[in-house]
């Protein structure tokens, strides 16, 4: 089961009282040939799980940095099919679990059953689909049944307790908590409210809770990490790859398997 890799990763971190560092990258930004290098770079920097972004023409939940990366990837004619093919080729060289972050249409258009087979063959552990909320999940869930792919659900700070109960019921992999009400990209500072809500989500959830959206430094990652099971960094990493500053990605990670870097 591919999704068990996610829980194995969290269990291992738990042994050393550590938090997960999850990195988002846009597949095809700079060309698809760069994908193995990008994954290797993240792995060597100490990333615990990789979110592989699939480019989409209409990324309504993304801020400017990831939008631009998506357009660059589309200009390279990168498709979900080509990405899965590449991942299948290199899967034995990848030592961390990876999930796809994709809008629904590329998956739907692929054909849900075929996609499920191909993604499982590519050792993908799960899916984050920002435009498929709980209401629309059954179609996808049915198609993925038996493949071992987790559907990773999102929760927000304003998600009501009643809705949260439904979200955590049957949640797989981890809960992706959106810490700022908005789209992906840079933000400054977090309020007490953020921490209280993270605690609220964590309390209800029986899978790990990771927080994303807006982290740009190791300090922010560390602070936020204290209130959940892991942090997700996206725009900053995408921009570092684009600016050829990927050697600095490791500086965003506040620890390495229990040993604090700082």
């Amino acid at each position: 089961m591919t999704k068990t890799r996610i829980s194995e990763m969290f269990n291992k971190l738990k042994e050393t009282d550590d938090k997960a560092f999850i990195a988002y990258m846009m597949a095809g930004d700079g060309g698809l040939d760069k994908l193995p290098y990008q994954i290797k770079t993240l792995e060597e920097a100490g990333v615990d799980l990789i979110e592989i972004g699939i480019p989409f023409s209409d990324p309504a939940a993304d801020g400017p940095v990831i939008q631009r990366a998506g357009i660059r990837a589309l200009n390279e004619h990168v498709s979900l099919r080509a990405i899965l093919k590449k991942l299948t080729e290199i899967k034995s060289d990848i030592n961390v679990p990876y999930v796809l972050m994709t809008y629904y249409n590329p998956v739907f258009h692929y054909g849900l059953e075929t996609f499920a087979e191909d993604a499982a063959a590519a050792n993908v552990s799960g899916l984050i689909v920002p435009d498929v909320p709980l209401e629309e999940e059954p179609e996808l869930k049915n198609a993925l049944a038996g493949t071992g792919l987790a559907i990773i659900r999102l929760a927000t700070l304003t998600t009501t307790d009643e809705r949260l109960a439904n979200l955590v019921d049957g949640a797989e992999g981890f809960i992706y908590a959106v810490t700022v009400n908005g789209v992906t990209g840079k933000r400054t500072g977090y309020s007490e409210e953020v921490y209280e809500n993270l605690a609220r989500i964590k309390e209800q959830s029986n899978v790990p809770v990771c927080a994303g959206f807006g982290i740009t430094s190791a300090e922010a990652a560390e602070t936020l990490g204290e209130h959940c099971d892991g942090v997700i960094v996206g725009s900053q990493i995408v921009e570092m790859f684009h600016q050829k500053e990927e050697k600095d990605i490791k500086n965003l990670i506040p620890k390495k398997h229990g040993e604090r870097v700082k």
């Binding site: 309504a60 939940a61 809008y103 920002p130 435009d131």
Partner: protein
């Protein structure tokens, strides 16, 4: 003979179409909108205010005009024009803008935002913002804004701020995405006045309901004039709001044929079209499952139509449903045919139609001559053509 048509479902579905394909962060707001809209619908005070503005501000009811000279020239079916072009601001768009403007106040919000392509919906939204004293921001693709400078000025004149969207293809679909992004961050005091029967539930329903006044009036008018229902009802389709408004009160009348007319641009097989049903397939974008133009990897495609108001890659989910269930049929007209109809209606009836509506007229010109003289067609004249005159002049001169 008639069966009750009750869509969307509680989950916002029209059969398999529609739904709520949005980020988790929007769910609460859409839920709030759903609840408030339901309350407003049942509140006689809200309905009264809507009726008042429709009458005193928009200028309804507008006429159902018998186009006698066009009918005689084509030599077949009797043609009636539903004159949405006579509304304040010159198109059907104002019906929805008034409704959602009132809904904004009903919800206690003070700001509205909207996307616009050519600027018609932007102007309608800016208009209602001025009337109701709401703060207003309009998102417009930078390319569209450059093409429609006068409409940008119009919106500014009405007190709205026009935000030019540089992202993506810098056209309508990108303006939709950007409006969504802005909305997610400002939901507390801001309502998104979506302009067509598109987007996540409950928008397709809300917009349809406010636009359904078109067919409500047309039905009563034709019964009064002809003592019977029409044989065919025809409307142009971009996102599909005027068509949904024109169809809605006829859906249960199974003998009334409903015909939508998409934009075939440079030719239906030219690859330069905006015909989501005729040349697209089912997909998910902008919050709903619907027909849309997409490439082999599920990316939305660029569109082309001489008419900016039809230049959108998707079609409202309810149209997808009416198509799938064969309750409505979806035809198409090219740029050339629309230009021709634009001139024909101007000359025969003294009515300059919008290029959008000209697509519907073009289809009527194709079918009317073959139909018996006792058949009745109602066509939605969704807007007036003043906004298009300059462009049509350039197009016609280029053809000389």
């Amino acid at each position: 003979m008639t069966e009750t048509y009750k869509y969307p479902s509680a989950e916002g579905k029209f059969g398999e179409f529609g739904g709520t394909y949005v980020a988790e962060s929007l769910i609460n707001t859409l839920e709030e909108l759903k609840v408030s809209y339901k309350e407003a619908q049942q509140d006689p005070g809200f309905q009264k205010e809507f009726d008042y503005l429709m009458r005193e501000y928009v200028g309804r009811e507008n006429p159902l005009f018998y186009a006698q000279r066009l009918t005689e020239k084509l030599g077949g079916a009797k043609i009636y024009l539903k004159r949405e072009d006579l509304n304040h601001t010159g198109a059907h768009k104002i019906n929805n803008a008034v409704g959602q403007g009132l809904l904004t106040k009903y919800m206690g919000k003070t700001k509205i935002i909207a996307e616009t392509g050519a600027g018609q919906h932007g102007v309608a939204t800016a208009t209602i913002a001025a009337l109701l004293g709401l703060e207003c921001k309009i998102f417009m693709g930078a390319k569209d804004a450059a093409r429609q400078e006068l409409n940008v000025f119009r919106m500014e004149l009405l007190g709205a701020e026009v935000v030019k969207v540089e992202q993506g293809t810098a056209t309508l679909k990108d303006a939709v995405n950007e409006t969504m992004r802005y909305w997610v961050q400002h939901m507390e005091d801001t309502h998104y006045v979506l302009g067509s029967v598109l987007g996540p539930h409950p928008f397709p329903q809300i917009v349809r309901d406010f636009q359904s006044i078109i067919s409500k009036e047309a039905k009563a008018q034709i019964l009064k004039k002809e003592g019977r229902l029409p044989d065919k009802v025809v409307a142009c389709i971009g996102g599909g709001s005027n068509a949904m408004g024109m169809f809605y009160n006829f859906i249960e009348d199974k003998d009334v044929e409903l015909i939508g007319v998409e934009a075939a641009g440079s030719g239906i097989d030219s690859g330069k079209v905006a015909a989501a049903i005729n040349r697209g397939s089912v997909g998910i974008a902008h919050g709903a499952k619907m027909h849309m133009l997409q490439d082999e990897s599920g990316q939305l495609q660029g569109t082309h139509s001489i008419s900016a108001g039809l230049d959108y890659p998707g079609i409202g989910p309810e149209h997808s449903f009416l198509f799938k269930t064969k309750r409505a049929s979806y035809e198409y007209a090219t740029d050339e045919e629309a230009l021709n109809a634009f001139q024909e209606l101007s000359r025969t009836e003294g009515i300059i139609p919008a290029l959008e509506s000209s697509h519907a007229i073009a289809h009527v010109m194709k079918i009317a001559p073959e139909l018996p003289k006792d058949e009745i067609i109602i066509v939605s004249l969704s807007g007036r053509g003043d906004k298009d005159v300059e462009m049509v002049k350039a197009e016609l001169e280029a053809r000389k």
